[in-house]
Each structure stands twice: as C-alpha cells, then as structure tokens.
C-alpha cells in the first residue's frame, strides 16, 4: 500500500470523523442516539488504527500530528467522565463523604488532637490567668470581645451579634434577619476559607496544616478562656454551643484531610511518592469538600440561630442535639449496603475513586 493511495482512500473517513467531532463537541455524547454513538466508537477505532499504521510506516510528521490530534479529540469526547448532577451531589453527601471520612478516621483523630488539645490547654490557662491572654490576642480585639459579651453591650435584647473569632463591624439600622444575612456571608467567606487553606497547605508535608490547626486551637482557646474569665461565660457558651458542633468538627475534618496529603508524601507506602499523593489526594479532597459543606451549615446556624433571642436552656438542648447529629452523621451515614441504594447504586462503580481516576467509557 502506497502512501498516496492510503491517504486518498482514508481521507474521506477522517473528514467524516472530524465532522462528527465538531458536531458533537457542543453537546454531550450521551445525548446522541445509540447508533450514532456506536458509529462514533467504530470511527474512533478506525482512525486509531490509521494512526498506528502511519506511525509504524513513518509516513511523515504532518500526517502523524494531524491524525494524533484527531484521535486525541475523539478520545477526550469518548472517555469523558459521567456528568455530575444533583443525584450525584446527594449521594456524595449522604454516602461517599461519611464513608471516606470513616475510612481515614485516623487522620481526623490526629487533627483533633492538634486542634482540641491546644484549645483546651490555652482555655484552661487563660481562664485561670486572664492577663496571659494579651500574649495571644491583640488588645484591640480583646476590647471588642469585652464589648460584645459584656453586660453593657447592646445584646441583651438581641443577644450576641458576632462570634468570638471575628470582629467585623456591624451594619447599623437594619432589622434582625437582614443583618444576620451579612454575618452568614461573612462566616462562609471567612471560615470556609480557613478550612480550605488548612487542607491545601497540607501539601507542604503537612506543616501548613499543623500550623493552622495549632494556631486556631490556641487562639480560640485563649479567646474562650478570656471571655469566661470576664464573667460572660453564660452568654458566650449559649452562643457557641449550637454552631460549634458543625464548625469545630469541620475544622478538624479539613485538618485531617490536609494531614492525609502531607502523610501521602512522607509515607507513600508501596507506591511512588507522587502516585501515593494522587491516590490519597483524590480521597482527601472529597473529605475536605465535605468539611466545607459542614462549615456552610455552621455559618447559617451561627448567623441565624445562635444569636437569636431564645432562652439559654433551649439553646443548650438544641446545641447538644446538633452535636449528636454531627456524630451520628459522620459515624453512621452511608453504612447501609449499596444494594439498598438501588437507583443511585449503579453509579457506585463509575464513581469509585479507582475507576474515576482512570475515567470510564460510557456507551
């Protein structure tokens, strides 16, 4: 077979394949009728074969690069991942995230140790010796806390308006709900940002994550200890108890995911370091994503429920209920077998990390 003959014979097929590509690149392949897809599959294999033939014969660089691009485009289209949809999101939150979390619970426990232990210690120390707080918290912010949780604060009717770790200015002259929305936005922006950063910095051998966890733990502990030592403990605790469930746990969850990244580099196990980073990174990011969702929930609780004018007893009861809910969610969600998730269960195979990693053809 001669080169010119070969090109002459195959050129119409390539043109046709090119046309199919441009037509279907706008729409997803899955929206095409079945016979079109199988024809596409056949064309892809034919063009792949042409590419292999031309490569082995050495029939010129131009021709190879043309066919290479043709096959690459077809390859991209044919092996694209299944589309993400609402059912996938639900499945992720209800099943995949808690499962992944439990599978890697060791990292979470270490993160808890790095976060809650310093928090407890600095709380205890500062509560017994409030003057130490000045070493951690800037004076200006301390004055803010005094005002926020103190007796003379304007919160007696409206309760606390802001939470301990931030000190934003309150917009004035607005009604309760409207003002809360600002805070909700602020909490999402601020807290989720911290959690994501805490996770991402884990790539630096986990050092960034450890630093963020320790820093936030010590800071929050000092703030809490200081406020309680000033005699505003009741007001502070009733404010914090509800959203603390989601917020503090989520910080530790994100921290655990960050530690996973760092540990994948330090202890790659049987894999190469970068491979281990990729495999565990894909799991870690799904855990961190769950933490981000938990923080969004926390932000709404913190903005709308925690500062509401409700008796403290109710807040404590609801708060403990929320803590229980978080533990039940992380501990029990997704425990049922996949056969019970029949309609969604079919996606399990395609969405499992391993096959997701390789990509799966859909036909």
């Amino acid at each position: 077979m001669n080169k010119h003959k070969f090109i002459q014979q195959r050129r119409p097929h390539w043109k046709q394949f090119e046309e199919t590509l441009t037509n279907s690149s706008r729409r997803s392949l899955s929206k095409l009728p079945a016979e079109d897809i199988s024809r596409f599959s056949k064309q892809l294999r034919e063009v792949s074969h042409d590419l292999a033939t031309i490569r082995s014969r050495g029939w010129g660089h131009d021709l190879i690069s043309y066919l290479n691009d043709l096959v690459a485009r077809g390859h991209n289209l044919f092996y694209s991942a299944p589309p993400t949809n609402i059912a996938g999101l639900y499945r992720y939150l209800a099943v995949d995230f808690p499962r992944l979390f439990r599978a890697n619970i060791g990292y979470f426990l270490v993160a808890c140790l790095l976060f809650f232990l310093p928090l407890g210690i600095s709380w205890y120390v500062v509560q017994n010796n409030p003057s130490l707080a000045t070493r951690i918290i800037p004076e200006k912010i301390m004055a803010n806390f005094d005002q926020m949780y103190g007796d003379e604060s304007p919160l007696n009717s409206d309760e606390e308006k802001a939470e301990s770790q931030q000190n934003s200015d309150q917009p004035e002259g607005t009604n309760f709900g409207d003002q809360r929305a600002t805070m909700a936005g602020f909490y999402i922006n601020h807290n989720v940002g911290i959690a994501l950063k805490c996770f991402a910095l884990g790539i630096l051998l986990g050092i960034g994550t450890v630093y963020t966890l320790l820093f936030n733990g010590i800071f929050l502990g000092a703030v809490s200890g200081y406020i309680v030592s000033q005699g505003n403990g009741e007001r502070f605790l009733s404010f914090v108890v509800s959203h603390g469930s989601f917020e503090l746990t989520a910080i530790a969850v994100a921290g655990g995911a960050g530690l996973m990244l760092g540990n994948a580099l330090i202890h790659p196990g049987q894999r190469k370091r970068f491979e281990s980073l990729q495999v565990r990174g894909l799991e870690a990011v799904q855990i961190a994503g769950g933490a981000a969702v938990m923080l969004v929930v926390a932000a709404f609780i913190e903005a709308f429920w925690s500062p509401a004018d409700i008796p403290n007893l109710v807040k404590y009861i609801v708060g403990s209920g929320l803590w229980l809910l978080v533990f039940l969610y992380l501990g029990l969600a997704g425990l049922q077998s996949d056969s019970r998730l029949v309609p969604v269960g079919k996606q399990e195979r395609t969405r499992s990390p391993e096959s997701n990693y390789c990509g799966t053809p859909r036909q």
């Binding site: 010119h4 050129r11 490569r55 014969r57 043309y66 991209n76 607005t174 990729q278 390789c358």
Partner: protein, 296 residues
C-alpha cells in the same frame, strides 16, 4: 539479497533516520507527553510551558478583579432594599470568586478557564482523559500552596518536574497541554518539472518510505529555510542517497543542486511504485506486497 540491502540501508542512512526515531521515542527534554489509549495507540500531547500558563493566569486575574469591581457596582443597587443581605451575598460571591473561579470553570468547561481558552491551553488528566470536578477542585485548592511567594513554589515545582506540573497538578494528576487546531496535511508536493532519475544510472536499492516522506516534507517546507541552509541540509541526505543508489549520473547534480536531486529521487520512487502496483507485478517487490497484506 534483499536482506543485505536492508541492513546496508539502515546503516548508511542512520544519520538521517535517527532524526526521525527521536521523535517517536520518549524524550526527556521535550514538550511532548505520550499516552497509550485503550485502543493501544500512542497519543502525543504538546505540554504548555510556564510562560503560556503565566499569561493565562494574568488574564484570569484580570477577569477576577473585574468580577470584584462588577459586584461592587451591582450589589449596592440590591443594598437599597436589603442592605444586610446584599453585603452577605457579596461576601459569598467574593468567596466563590476567590476559591471557586478556577474549579467551576475548569470542572464544567472541559478544563479551560477563560484565560486558558484565550491562550489555547487546557487541563487534562495525566491519562489523557478530560478533567472532572474533583481533580479540578483539588488542583485549585492546592493553588493556595503554590501561590506562596508569588507562585514561587508552583514555578519551582514546574521547573523540577518533566511535565511542568505545579503542586496542584501533581496531586490531582493533571497536566496542562496546548490545544492544536486540526489541519489536514496538504497534498504531497507534485513535481511536474522534475525529471525522474534515469533507471540506468542507479542500482537496485529502494529507499524506505520514511526517507521518501522525509523528502516530501522537507521539500514542502523548504521556504522556511534560507537557500544556502536548505541546500546544506539537503546535501547531507543527497550525498548518502547518491552513494547508496550507486548513482552514476552527473555528480554535479548531487553536489550543486541537492534539493533537486532529492526531488528527483522522490519522484522516481514514489511514482514508480505506484505504476508497478498498477501493473500488479508485485512479485518484483516482496516488501510492497507484504505491506499491503499487513494493511488490509
């Protein structure tokens, strides 16, 4: 007889063919990435270098700053009705702009943010597959680690890795490649004015298809080189070929006009093969016959 000819051929013209072999072998210092598809075909992708990605980053940065300013214009209008909610929405949007811009654009628009689209580059998985939402999220969360010291960490990582991957790419298993536009190769050069070599002046040697394609492409791109440089390059191949062919014609044709000589060789062999196939005397050329069987 045939086998000795083949061995001799590979030896003498190895200087030329090594140039072509390199392109199919894995190169350490190249911009190419090779992937084997499930159809058992090797695909090559052109990697995008740091410079191109930097330009894309600048464009994206401009867009993100633009979005922030745009929000500052629009949100106060909502603020007239619900000032608090407006600020809240603004803060959420700012969060999405900071953390979600790349994830959303790369996750949902086939690995291209707006800046990448303008620069003609795209994020794909290392296996050549399109990027999905989780790797997109992962590589762009880790961006905050890459961004330390004005992307110093990211650039260092790109320089140290063979595929120009920053930390986010390494974790997510992604690479940034250049998009190429499809263009059907032009028709082979038709050389009407070139006379094929006289059969009496050459031996029984048959150049391989690679050599003929090389000549074809070389002549097709001769205008890229200056006259002197083009002829100097052509002389290398022409001298080797003349020796191999036992060319007994005018030696000036080889030394003075090597390009014309190459064209003549090309015309002689690429067209003579065709004619012989038409006559179907395939027994004269066992190599051609086996090739045809292999193909069909």
């Amino acid at each position: 007889m045939i086998s000795t000819a083949t061995i001799g051929e590979t030896n003498t013209i190895s200087a030329v063919t090594s140039l072509m072999d390199n392109s199919t072998k894995r190169e350490i210092l190249g911009l190419e990435m090779q992937i084997e598809t499930p159809e058992n075909v090797i695909l090559t992708y052109q990697l995008a270098g740091p410079a191109k990605r930097y330009i894309a980053y600048i464009i994206d940065l401009g867009i993100r700053v633009g979005i922030t300013f745009g929000m500052m214009m629009v949100i106060p209008l909502l603020g007239i009705v619900l000032p608090g909610t407006a600020i809240g929405i603004m803060l959420v949007l700012m969060f999405l702009n900071t953390w979600g811009y790349y994830t959303i654009s790369e996750g949902f628009f086939k690995g291209q943010s707006i800046g990448k689209h303008f620069c003609g580059i795209r994020v794909i998985r290392e296996g050549g597959y399109p990027i999905t939402i989780w790797p997109a999220l992962l590589r762009n969360l880790v961006r905050s680690a890459d961004a330390i010291i004005f992307y110093g960490i990211g650039v260092t990582s790109m320089i140290l890795t063979r595929r120009f991957q920053r930390l986010g790419d390494l974790v997510a298993g992604t690479v940034v490649v250049q998009e190429r536009t499809l263009s059907l190769p032009r028709k082979p050069v038709i050389l009407d004015k070139i006379q094929p070599l006289n059969k009496n002046e050459i031996g029984s040697f048959l150049p391989r298809d690679e050599i003929l394609s090389l000549i074809d492409e070389f002549i097709g791109r001769r205008h890229v080189l200056t006259y002197e440089r083009g002829h100097a390059l052509a002389a290398i191949l022409a001298n080797n070929l003349a020796e191999r062919l036992n060319y007994s014609g005018d030696p000036k044709k080889v030394t003075q006009y090597p390009m014309a000589f190459l064209a003549a060789v090309y015309k002689t062999f690429s067209f003579s093969q065709e004619e012989e196939e038409l006559v179907a005397v395939s027994s004269y050329h066992p190599r051609n016959r086996s090739a045809e069987m292999h193909f069909e």
